[in-house]
């Protein structure tokens, strides 16, 4: 098995497990905030519609959060099993940041999650709302610390070395608020909100399409769709601006990453914005390029003839993998543009009073349901592959970071992870989709009185769910 490079296997394993993982906390951040807003509106207005939307998404949240927890525990140990040199050297800096994440975020989420999910009848309304707020706060605190740690790996500051070669913090403020952190945090949290908004929008649009077919009126689905489209109209353009600032920050600190994003091999003035192309590393050019002249220079330097540093300024062994960065970046931006278009279109329809009966936007919204998740993963590929060949940018190489690894052991664990993840999280996604199929609102919450739950579960479990939609509605409605 000597042809297998254990470091490459370890990288694939890390990429695979974290790509799966990030979907769940990403949605948890958005859904927790959404749930807090819904419950707050319910407490304020006392309108049942908010409560039914809250209960609808609470079930979906609980399954997504659960998957986030179990896939997250893997991450906290995998750094040590596969990247022990990295752990030893960066532990004194990254460890405390993650320690703060556990203490200020994970316990907060986990401690109040039980009350949030199961405590509706055990504590008062206000205390329950408090629990929901604490869970939402926990997800945001978690994002704060883990993105700080990630950003330090991208733009390390505030450190020195000790006699055994470990990174040591000189100034914790500089470590935490390293140069790329504010941008990355804003970009990721906004991405989490948008992913959730489009998921909610897609699910409610699907029910609106169904509502049309069945000639009924679903107020809850309308409320959810309306809220999602407000998010699309307001937050998607904001994300474009944040992304632009993030890009400028990257240009300042990691120009090689930006060069790979733009497919810019040669340093040049008036660089074009490539909409599409095929990066060719051998010939150092982009084949079949379609672009807008001078636009990349304008976006990044705010001058049509501004000079952009190309990959030629970096030795070949110091460059990231251009293809991954180049393509992923385009996927992310294309989705972002699509989101903005949907948001603007929704404003127009809202103005014309046709938001709930324009089938075209509902169909598009259904297609866009997973768009935020795809864009989030694409964005992370841009920033993480773009950091290569380093784990700590410019300071510690990936090939100097790994454990004393043995290829067969890593290969075995990688195969196990792939099988288990597809099986477990694949099933989890099926169950989530099944919950999303349940009609939100009055009819869907037949078993709103939670105490009846049990019997209907056992009942519906005995029925093949395809043949009995009502039973499925009940099961999901609990």
């Amino acid at each position: 098995m000597e042809f297998l490079d254990p470091v490459l296997l370890a990288r694939i394993q890390f990429a695979f497990t974290i790509a799966f993982h990030i979907v769940f906390p990403g949605l948890s951040i958005g859904l927790a905030a959404y749930l807090a807003v819904l419950e707050g509106l319910w407490l304020k207005t006392n309108k049942k519609i908010y409560l039914s939307a809250f209960k609808y998404w609470l079930k979906i949240f609980s399954i997504i959060f659960g998957m986030g927890v179990v896939s997250g525990v893997v991450m906290s140990y995998q750094i040590g099993t596969n990247w022990s040199v990295f752990s030893d050297k960066t532990g004194p800096i990254l460890g405390p940041l993650m320690g703060y994440e556990v203490l200020s975020a994970f316990f907060l989420e986990a401690g109040f999650l039980g009350v949030m999910l199961f405590g509706m009848n055990k504590v008062g309304k206000k205390l329950h709302f408090f629990a929901t707020l604490m869970v939402a706060l926990g997800t945001l605190m978690s994002a704060f610390w883990i993105l700080s740690a990630n950003s330090w790996m991208q733009t390390p500051t505030g450190y020195s070395y000790n006699e055994v070669g470990q990174f040591v913090a000189d100034d914790w403020f500089e470590v935490i608020f390293n140069p790329s952190f504010p941008y990355r945090l804003a970009h990721m949290v906004t991405a989490a909100f948008l992913s959730t908004a489009f998921l909610v929008g897609g699910v409610s649009a699907w029910h609106l399409l169904k509502e049309r077919k069945e000639k009924t009126k679903n107020e809850t689905a309308r409320l959810m769709f309306s809220m999602a489209m407000w998010m699309a109209a307001i937050v998607a353009p904001i994300q474009l601006i944040i992304g632009d600032f993030h890009g400028l920050n990257t240009l300042e600190h990691q120009p090689a990453k930006v060069a790979a994003m733009e497919g810019n091999y040669q340093t040049q003035k008036g660089a074009p914005l490539l909409l599409f192309g095929v990066p060719n590393d051998e010939e150092e050019r982009v084949d079949y390029a379609i672009g807008i002249p001078k636009m990349a220079s304008y976006i990044l330097t705010h001058d049509f003839d501004g000079e952009l540093v190309g990959l030629d300024q970096f030795a070949k062994e110091d460059r990231p993998n251009t293809k991954w960065v180049f393509y992923s970046f385009r996927v992310m931006v294309a989705i972002g543009m699509g989101m903005i278009a949907i948001g603007l279109f929704s404003l127009f329809l809202r103005w014309r009073g046709r938001l709930y009966d324009n089938r075209f936007i509902h169909k598009i919204a259904v297609w866009f349901a997973p768009s935020g998740i795809v864009a989030t993963i694409a964005g992370w590929i841009v920033t993480e592959v773009g950091r290569q060949p380093y784990t700590v940018y410019g300071l510690l190489r990936t090939y100097d970071s790994h454990s004393p690894l043995d290829a067969p052991a890593v290969a075995t664990s990688l195969v196990l992870f792939i099988i288990v993840y597809f099986l477990v999280f694949g099933t989890g996604i099926v169950y989530t989709l099944r919950l999303m199929k349940v009609r939100p609102g009055e009819r869907g919450k037949l078993a709103d009185e939670e105490s009846k739950v049990k019997s209907s579960v056992t009942l519906s479990n005995r029925l093949p769910h395809e043949s009995n939609k009502e039973a499925l509605n009940k099961e999901g409605g609990e």
Binding site: G66, V70, D88, K89, G91, G99, F107, G111
Partner: protein
């Protein structure tokens, strides 16, 4: 001069102990779940821990994350050394964790996720015990790296500690259920607790004796004078707790068997700490050698000192909200 490394060793030890006890009864319930006859009883058993398992598992993340933060050298030696048991434990915990949701969402495949709950819990418990056994036996180190092979962790001793921990977890789980439930489930839990109690007691004796033959340090720590005079308190206490456990189980007490089982774990844990000290990675790396620089220890200590009491307060509150007996059919879902 404040010894931050020592303070942190104490805090990490506390986190690991909290994990072992809290997730111990969760995992124990998973392991014993196939032996509970009625489906309704199995669901009730699961429901007694549904609102709290997540918080309980967080102590494992604190143990791992804390080790990374304050003893990075230990983290970067122990984890590669225990590569396979750690990976298998994580996979086991995945099956255990998703079962809480999937059980209620599944239709035809429900029995499969229930098996996943049981087997996942068992694998996680075995791997944790094996990891402990391998650590007790010592880890080969060269410079700042693990220097052993990929199967070093697999020995008769580590297998024994693996089984012992799984059995001990069943004791915790069964006494928890005895405390939290009524009727047929309580009855079954009581009889399982009796068997697991005797077995746990036996394993504690076996492993304690075995340990002193493994490493000279352990022998000297326990049997040299004057150590033997005051350390003998621990085995005597184990004996007293064990006998009381047996008596309270016989009298069908509800709360005290659970507390006594926890005491049994606590005493065994103290015994291990006495054997290890001051090493973090036996036989060669002490906690001071493994410690991160003081700037890291101090920075995280400020947060821990402030946040840990708050965490303990709201964790207690969460337990308080779900206090009392969980009746059959009182599902949360």
């Amino acid at each position: 001069m404040v010894d931050y490394a020592l303070i942190w060793a104490g805090l990490i030890a506390f986190a690991v102990l909290a994990y072992i006890i809290l997730d111990g009864f969760d995992l124990g319930i998973g392991i014993m779940s196939p032996f509970i006859k009625e489906k309704e009883d199995r669901e009730t058993a699961m429901n007694t821990i549904a609102p709290i398992w997540d918080g309980n598992e967080t102590w494992l993340v604190l143990g791992g994350g804390g080790l990374f933060a304050v003893f990075p050298l230990a983290y970067s030696i122990i984890l590669p050394a225990l590569y396979m048991p750690i990976i298998l434990m994580l996979l086991g915990l995945i099956f255990r964790g998703v079962a809480f949701e999937f059980h209620w969402r599944a239709t035809k495949s429900q029995h499969l996720w229930d098996k996943g709950f049981a087997i996942g819990s068992l694998v996680a418990a075995l791997c944790q015990g094996i990891a402990l056994g391998a650590l007790v036996q010592g880890i080969a180190v060269d410079g700042r790296d693990y220097a052993g092979g990929w199967w070093d962790w697999l020995t008769p001793f580590s297998l024994t500690t693996g089984i012992a921990l799984a059995v001990g977890y069943v004791l915790l789980g069964a006494t928890w259920l005895n405390m939290k439930t009524t009727g047929s489930l309580q009855k079954q839990s009581l009889s399982i607790a009796k068997i697991a109690g005797v077995a746990t007691f036996g394993f504690i004796g076996l492993i304690s004796l075995w340990m002193v033959f493994i490493e000279q340090q352990y022998l000297h720590r326990w049997f040299d004078t004057p150590n033997i005079y005051y350390l003998s308190v621990i085995p005597i206490l184990v004996l007293i707790v064990g006998v009381s456990l047996f008596l309270t189980l016989k009298k069908k007490r509800e709360v005290s068997p659970f507390l006594l089982s926890i005491s049994l774990f606590l005493l065994s844990y103290i015994g291990l700490a006495v054997s290890f000290f001051p090493n973090l990675v036996p036989p060669s790396i002490s906690l001071w050698q493994a410690a991160a620089p003081d700037s890291s220890l101090k920075f995280l200590l400020v947060g821990a000192a402030f946040l840990l009491p708050i965490i303990l307060a709201y964790t207690t509150y969460a337990y308080w909200v779900f206090r009392g007996k969980v009746k059959e059919g009182e599902a949360y879902h």
